[in-house]
Symmetry: C2
Subunit: 237 residues, 2 copies
DNA sequence: AACCTAGGTGTACGGCGTACACTTGTCAAG
DNA sequence: CTTGACAAGTGTACGCCGTACACCTAGGTT
């Protein structure tokens, strides 16, 4: 991975190469393992050299987000606000799924870069172009919240209440016992967790189809927006 | 803050005292400043002493969340699922606003403690008791997402694109120029950001009423849930 | 009086972000 | 071709972090 020309001639580092390397590294080893030191090693340079191209780690993360935003499709043309928004959110989601590091990073961003503001601006533009009032657009953006980035907080990822080390997978009978206890303690959780209408044989399995759940909520919101819009929503309904 | 009895007799530390001190400290100085060392100092003990009461920092944070969850009201009785859910979410939100550290902490929690599972279980129970199918309940929980905790990702907190040091507040005319440039570059953002129908004189001001936006989105979802429920929703609509 | 043990201590390690002073490589002007 | 300026890259060091591990010590039980 160390970038070097023939005969020891170093390839000059650029901000872009740093950012691209950071994205690739985060894709590969996870964002929590990306440190300035590790990234420097990856591009074949001493840690402090990175600071000639990014002011600090925050700015590095901002730059990574910019690269992510560039992967999101522009608004579809000639399709009405609703499919336009829907398509774009799903495009954002695809980008997000390609880069699992993006969710935690987006959540912690505090200053918006121009690229991010551009995205938001054109996103807002879809509603305004669709005839939404400025006010309703404002509320609607809040209602979408982080869904405009293609994600929501995942509530149940792996119901594993008791701390157990992953390596030795618990034997089936212990597993069953655990599930039974689980069902006894948290009957409602157990019901919705197991009854996700997925016919894979496993008892609990992957639990649910994230993509389906995401679109379910997205469409619920879009339908709600549509209704408000249709009835000429004005502040305080 | 150092806890010590008369004549140098140390007050024995307990897990509960550690957790309560952690919550109080996080309330006071912010979660990012809470380190094991700082917390130890706060309770008058050497850092490693804390590890006799919590296994590691993750468990400390889990324990703090448990304390938070305990502050959320139990489900209201005899009021139908919709107001019950609404009230409870708003109660969670109040707890969350009392403890600003809670949002980032909740977002990063990976294992659910029994207290958290209890909360989720009784939360789910509100829908089931209201006659929701298990399936619909599942989807509905996903749609709520982190809103069940009383928060959503805040999209616009302070539109400050160019890095500027906060201490010297920019002079009014520079501020105006910045806003003008902002409006030129991101016209749509500018429109919804300024037109939040808040009559405080300031040009951009606090921007919007978070509580209103939160309830707007919450009610939009609850109305959507109601509609699906009323029309006897079954998988894949 | 002897012992056990839970709670508290001290030292140390490997990681992190990054400040600061330095050398080196590249290219433009003389 | 030389020179010098400036950007890129280096090396060292600081102060933080979480926590492993060996040790001490006070209280309570036998």
């Amino acid at each position: 991975m160390v970038q070097q020309g023939e005969g020891g001639q170093r390839v000059r580092l650029t901000r872009d190469r740093v950012l691209e390397a950071a994205v690739a590294l985060a894709d590969e080893i996870g964002i929590e393992a990306v440190s300035m030191r590790r990234l420097a090693q990856e591009v074949g340079v001493v840690p402090m050299a990175l600071y000639k191209h990014v002011a600090n780690k925050e700015e590095l993360l901002d730059g990574m987000v910019d690269l992510l935003v560039a992967e999101i499709d522009p608004p579809a043309r000639d399709v009405g606000w609703k499919p336009a928004v829907r398509l774009r959110v799903l495009s954002a989601r695809r980008a997000l799924l390609r880069h699992p590091w993006a969710r935690p990073v987006l959540e912690t961003r505090v200053n918006k870069t121009p690229a991010v503001l551009d995205y938001m601006d054109s996103f807002i533009g879809m509603f305004l172009a669709g005839g939404f009032s400025v006010d309703l657009t404002h509320h609607v953006m809040h209602a979408l919240g982080s869904r405009m980035w293609g994600f929501t907080q995942e509530l149940f990822q792996e119901p594993a209440p008791a701390a157990a080390e992953p390596p030795p997978a618990p034997p089936p009978e212990a597993m069953a016992a655990m599930l039974g206890q689980m069902a006894a303690l948290y009957p409602n959780v157990a019901r919705v967790a197991t009854a996700s209408a997925h016919d894979d044989g496993s008892v609990v399995g992957p639990g649910c189809d994230d993509q389906f759940e995401f679109e379910f909520a997205l469409d619920l919101l879009l339908d709600g927006f549509e209704r408000l819009h249709a009835q000429g929503w004005s502040s305080r309904s």
